[in-house]
Amino acid sequence: MGKKHETPLLDELKKGKWVSFVREIERAAEKSERTEDLLGQVENSYRDKITHWKHGGMAGVRGYGAGLVGRFTEFPEKYPGVKECHSMRVNQTSGFFYNSDILRKIADIAEQHAGGLLNLHGSTGDIQILGVWQEEAEEAFQKCAELGFDLGGGGSDLRTPSCCVGPARCEFANYDTLQICYDMTQAFQDEMHRPSFNYKFKLKFSGCSNDCVAAASRSDMAFIGTWKDKIKINQDEVKNYVKKFNVQKYVLDKCPTKCMLFEGENLVIDDSNCVKCMHCINEMPKALRSGDEKGLSILLGAKAPLVTGPRLGMMLVPFYDVLEDSKNDYEWLKGLISNMWEFWDEYGVSRERIGELMQRVGVVTFLEGIGLEPIPEMVNHPRGNPFIKFTDDED
């Protein structure tokens, strides 16, 4: 079977040991003819060292303002198969768990109604089906929906929430990341499908401060599991680790607050000074476990650089008892989120992420706006400059 387009440059990327995306595009093209033109267009970019996609153009399904990213080639004549080449964002399962049955069905849809290509997964977390044409978008969507999969977020809306593997397969999880991710996604379907925010808003859930879903570096609201009480110590297992490696050097000396010490052979932790960094637990999972009073911290405002510079998540709520709140259908959390969205709606400007708003109006004003008190956990240190705005309530 002859190739539609010669791709000498891309062919170079079939060499080497790492599995090749070029090979994948080719395999997709075997099933979905239009993707031959994708190969051609990408080869063209490789030659010209420039993208050949046009900016903008609409794509979508009825009643939804999100879920499809429109994409059109600059060269519709040359590459008619990608005249339209939209991506459909299909909301993944919590923790990315699947079975072969469902995955094959999704592959079917990708091959039958799109370019046979997928991103598993998009950077936000969605299953992305690439190469969708507008005319078949609705059908592809409904086929996904029949499998129980709705579309994900896009545009100025709540983006598809995502979480780490958590309690499903990780002993470190301090709360049920998968469940709350699912529950919140369900609770905010309207906010996901019908963009009406100033800009995007992302939620991610990590079961502990290892933050395996990188929540605090890329979601407006990051949920990081933690505990309030003492680390549980199995002294026998500590002794086993001591036989295996230099626990003093690699664990105790690296504790950020140096709150651990050996009393004889026994490990002692000053838990009041532990910052729940996970390091000791990571190094000695058999010997140490987080406490019983589990919950999560909420960090606010992480985002990419544009416009005012990159941000990491800032400590907003040191301890949220998610288990308790889930019994009331997350009343407290939903209240907090809706306070934030209202404040953002009222005071934010277009294309201003919530972290940027907080920065612009000032943390204290923001806290007042959403109904939280300033507490020392929020700061690295109190102010170092003397420009204090005393208010009259102080007299």
Partner: protein
């Protein structure tokens, strides 16, 4: 009636409930895992409080995959683990086995099919990345191609555990940073270097001028008129080529075959283990695009990995190593040049300077 119900459009149902896809041993031990052990870079075991075990075999993925790829996975999963599998947050595939004896056969089968088993432990993890020339209009470089070239070179570090700690590499094809590279051990990022062109013919149709002006981080855009029509002008002296204006206004294209390329950043970290999360810092401001295999980018990443491997102490992430030896030495060891571009000049620049007499000679 049933006819109608059947035809009813399904909306707002959210994602499929994950419970349906949990393997039985996970269902049973959900939230009751006691500890894990890494067996090798391709497999690990999690042990439940009751002694139950789940074995994970991890396999690399290019993320941009065909239906056939998916079917390969499914076949393997059916053969070895009741059809159960998951993806990781870094786009790897994880097969979830309850029978230890299936680990090696599965690995062999995967390798036979040309897949890469590895990625657990002190390795270079799969490179998180973005669309590039395959799908995005904003990109300053391709994504998948750069990632492929780098991973070919770093292959040994995916399959063998021989680094001081985890190394997370991420790629983003423009400053929007969809690959969330901002806090990676090594970040590779597409860079534009030319002021956007202004298509004054189309701008009024395609763009909202006030929001275009507001999009600029350096206040470089001003309203203007040309041939009696409203348009904008850009201050060349202050534009930093970020492409933010183009993102909101298609009439201001910024991509440029000759001037686009890649920058390299180092020392970011997401986890809170030991030290707090931190951004990656600039080490190479610009390498011209050199497809199909970007040899200089590959070389730069390799140089960093090698220096890190030789210099860091066990357990030190890249940033911990650099902070211990100092940035001056990092530049010395890697041979990268320190230039004026490395000195921050954005909004909070002054907080990045060395306010002390502490230096190394």
């Amino acid at each position: 009636m049933p006819e109608e119900v059947k035809k009813k459009r399904i909306t707002d149902i959210g994602p499929h409930d994950f419970h349906d896809y949990l393997p039985p041993v996970i269902k049973k031990n959900y939230g009751k895992w006691a500890y894990h052990e890494i067996l090798d870079t391709g497999s690990m075991v999690h042990v439940a409080e009751n002694g139950d075990k789940i074995y994970t075999v991890r396999m690399g993925s290019p993320r941009l995959v065909s239906g056939s790829f998916v079917r390969d996975l499914c076949d393997m999963a059916d053969k070895y683990c009741g059809g159960y599998l998951r993806f990781t947050t870094r786009n790897n595939v994880e097969f979830l086995l309850d029978d230890k004896n299936n680990i090696e056969p599965l690995k062999k089968d995967l390798e036979k099919l040309g897949y890469n088993v590895g990625g657990i432990g002190n390795v270079v993890a799969n490179i998180v990345h973005t669309q590039g020339w395959v799908h995005c209009h904003t990109s300053a470089s391709d994504a998948s191609g750069v990632v492929k070239a780098v991973m070919d070179e770093l292959y040994e570090y995916f399959v063998e555990d021989k680094l001081p700690s985890k190394v997370r590499i991420a790629f983003a094809c423009c400053l929007n940073m969809c690959g969330s590279v901002a806090s990676s051990d090594i970040a590779i990022m597409g860079m534009h270097r030319k002021v956007p062109k202004i298509d004054s013919e189309k701008i009024l149709n395609l763009c909202e001028i006030p929001s275009t002006i507001a999009a600029c981080p350096t206040n470089s855009i001003r309203p203007d008129t040309k041939d009696g029509k409203q348009t904008v002008k850009i201050n060349d002296e202050t534009c930093v080529f970020c492409g933010s204006c183009y993102t909101v206004c298609p009439a201001m294209p910024i991509a440029d075959s000759l001037n686009d390329g890649i920058s390299i950043w180092v020392g970011g970290k997401v986890s809170n283990a030991r030290i707090k999360p931190t951004f990656s810092k600039l080490v190479i401001p610009f390498i011209p695009n050199d497809p199909p295999r970007w040899p200089k980018v590959v070389e730069a990443v390799k140089t960093i990995i090698t220096a890190y491997k030789n210099g860091a102490e066990p357990g030190e992430r890249v940033v911990e190593w650099i902070e211990r030896i100092g940035w001056t030495r990092f530049f010395k060891i890697t041979g990268f040049e320190f230039t004026k571009y490395h000195v921050d000049d954005f909004r909070l620049a002054e907080t990045t300077m060395n306010y002390s007499s502490q230096v190394r000679f």
